[in-house]
Symmetry: C2
Subunit: 313 residues, 2 copies
């Protein structure tokens, strides 16, 4: 199996390394970290056991991938739809056998890719993991790690199952789902609440959010709106997910959300993937999501300063 991993951050560095350990031919596609990784490889400090690996190939763009990979594992931050599309432009023609795996946050992030290249298998991937890049070529994986994969918009193809099996062989807990959209709504319940609040409340970790009655009020409203949205979208979640998510967050060690880490480092935040697409879907479906919309607008106002992509409002 031949996998090109786009993005050598926390997600790409960790899961690329696990695939490498499972005997997969791994090409790492890097931008800013290219030289460090080409020269020194990637060190992963992980709760699963720390390790170091040198990807079989390190390149700067997808067009340099040779041979053409079986899977294009997109692990960049989902800051704009353009990112994935630009990557695909680098893919040589007649690469129809390539499966694009979007191992990213958000909802309906597969849509533009599927629209642009309907011939490709587009796989949605959700990682439940705490992992981050401490410096170029250094990844720190501190908690969790499970992955869920499913074809977009639905089903589980042979290719998806094969990738899931390979992850499992590598020691990564991995499930497949027939309804990746539902799985994404399910993860959004948490993401849409805790990511924005961590930034908007002035830099709070998950523990501070769940122990602040005011922030908890907002979190609950956001979660309920996501449940209503998923329902209207035909991918219903159990209403119990709200309490389950809050309970689980109380139980976990407090940590800073990815959005807060981005904000603190002055990097664009995933406003569109996590909130903007939900707001847009709500408008399409005629569902009221005023809490999400308010947080989205506040975040986008902050994001403007960080160079984030703006959606027309």
């Amino acid at each position: 199996m031949n996998v090109a991993v786009i993005g050598s951050g926390g997600i790409g560095g960790l899961y690329g390394g696990k695939l490498y350990q499972a005997g997969v031919h791994v090409t790492m596609v890097c931008r800013s970290d290219y030289e460090v990784i080409r020269d020194r490889g990637i060190t992963v400090e992980s709760i699963w056991g720390s390790f170091h690996y040198r990807p079989h190939k390190v390149v700067r763009s997808v067009s340099e991938c040779d041979p053409i990979p079986d899977y294009l594992l997109v692990c960049t931050k989902a800051v704009s739809d353009d990112t994935a599309l630009k990557l695909l432009e680098g893919l040589p023609e007649k690469s129809d056998e390539v499966a694009v795996v979007l191992l990213q946050n958000g909802i309906y992030i597969e849509e533009p890719v599927k629209k642009f290249r309907p011939d490709l298998t587009v796989i949605g991937g959700i990682a439940f993991v705490c992992t981050f890049r401490t410096q170029p070529g250094y990844i720190c994986h501190t908690d969790y790690g499970r992955i869920v994969l499913g074809d977009y918009p639905q089903g589980v193809s042979k290719k998806t199952r094969l990738l899931a099996d390979t992850f499992k062989k590598a020691g990564v807990p991995c499930e497949v789902t027939e309804d990746i959209i539902r799985a994404r709504w399910g993860k959004l319940v948490w993401n849409a609440a805790f990511n924005p609040l961590s930034v908007l409340a002035g830099g709070k970790d998950t523990g501070e959010i769940v122990s602040d009655p005011y922030l908890l009020n907002i979190a609950r409203s956001v979660m309920e709106e996501v449940v209503r949205l998923a329902d209207a979208d035909g991918h219903p979640l159990s209403p119990a997910v709200v309490d389950e998510n809050l309970e689980a967050t109380r139980a976990m060690s407090p940590y800073k959300t990815s959005m807060l880490l981005d904000y603190e480092k002055g990097r664009p935040m995933e406003c569109e993937a996590i909130l903007g697409k939900a707001v847009k879907k709500a408008e399409e479906l005629g569902v009221e999501t005023p809490t999400i919309r308010t947080l989205y607008n506040l975040l986008m106002s902050f994001n403007r300063k960080l160079g984030g992509k703006n959606r027309d409002v």
Copy 2:
């Protein structure tokens, strides 16, 4: 006429001084600025002409007012219902002739006073003014200055009319209204939007808010919710007030809201008066105000750190 002015900040210092100029006997009730004002009086730099005055009396509490004033002009920040009630405790018994004038921000702030002392005339006052204390005994009045007065919950008593006439004699544009609650809802349209956003967007002046499409979205939602609330409360505003307020804000020189000034100085913000009471009223009336509620909860989370009074949530 004998007036006791509570609070020697921007509002109290300015309007107390104007009444002084109109020949009113002014007792200034101060806390932290007591000594400075007793010794040196108050200097007002004003667009109406700068002046200096020494109040006829400077005291530390209402109980020291002698003679008992005709009007108790409450000009403190409306950070908690307790403030006004504590002041009234200082009022000697049989002071039924005293009118309490709440020249403060917010909605339904007169209610606890009226409940505590139903015998008193309770007058609501709204000041449309940019004025602030630069240091103890120094007031800077930079723009506007109009006052609206009305009896709570409705009507215009002789006492209210007399005070309005005295303000006018002092050169202060002053109107009376039969429906002070409606007037408060009208001012809240602006206050509920711009005060919270100036803080929550990371310290923005009014000009920055109206020129940011994301913040403008939120401001509009808040304003529409206030219009719906006032309507449900039986004090309807014209729906045109939303555009009128936005237009007026675009036209005015950008400035920092009082809430932002408080926040920057680490002082408690008027969350309850400006937002909390609106949220409570919305619950009573069964009106949905999700945008206001979200901003309220975010602000209260910030306010906790500033020592602001918390409402049970």
